[in-house]
Subunit: 154 residues, 2 copies
Amino acid sequence: MPIIDEKIDQVKRIFTTYLGNKGLRKTSERFFILEEVYARDGHFDVETLYITMKDKDHSVSRATVYNTLDLLIDCDLVSRHQFGQNLAEYEKAYGYKQHDHLLCTECHKVVEFCDPRVHNIQKNVGDLLGYEVMHHSLILYANCKKENCENRNK
Amino acid sequence: MPIIDEKIDQVKRIFTTYLGNKGLRKTSERFFILEEVYARDGHFDVETLYITMKDKDHSVSRATVYNTLDLLIDCDLVSRHQFGQNLAEYEKAYGYKQHDHLLCTECHKVVEFCDPRVHNIQKNVGDLLGYEVMHHSLILYANCKKENCENRNK
DNA sequence: CTCGGTGCAAAGCTTTTGCATCCGC
DNA sequence: GCGGATGCAAAAGCTTTGCACCGAG
């Protein structure tokens, strides 16, 4: 059996357990949304997910999408990013390396990177201030140089 | 003359120069907004600034507030933060130490902190990926422990 | 059978836009 | 006086909410 199938099964088990522990119902809509999220690569917004599911005959309401994504975030299966000013972007989170984002302010390209020092800072600052840091958001705003940016001034 | 007065004069000179260089007009509204921003401590949102100015008989339109804040951000006199999902918060930036934020997810308190390693990461990652990083946003999401948090479950 | 979940549409909120008027240069 | 800036209100866009109906437990 391909690794990808194992992963989605594992994720479904985690979600099932989470729903059980919280006394929440295991509705088909919630699992359709989970499947669609994990079938995607990279970032997506609510509207895109909503349209895709409608096209696939797994239609759910926008309200249910928002509600379910909140649940998935709560059990760490999904992460939310606020790149722009008014549009939340989401991303599957289980089994993928923790990473941060660099945004090009010229062409709006998003590059993912990973630096272990971020985690150290998170830990140290938490200890210093007397907080337990659960997670973080680090965004670098940058200008691409000409040769790196096929979309410049797009 | 108090230091505070020197600072606002300095900031006004910077803004005047910026507007001059860009060929933008030096309107009274723009300087009223600059004054009000620098009279404030900590974070504020557009609506609060708008209401305060209306109460002080320096009434300007919301559109002008948004427009002017964008200019002030462009010349590094103001910084914008996206803490919540739908509300941008702003802060004066000139002459204040660069810092990042820790948010308590229990009581929504915001704590500022400063860690020099963040700047190193910004520089290193930029060099590695071939970007020039202009600025960054780092937010730590944390849980306060009981004794640190007078607002718990507020 | 109960009550939480869903769907739909309307409402809410922040931010942007269009257009007539105003004023810095 | 010209063209950019402002003010106002309407529009836009994402997210939340209210309510009737449905279906998991």
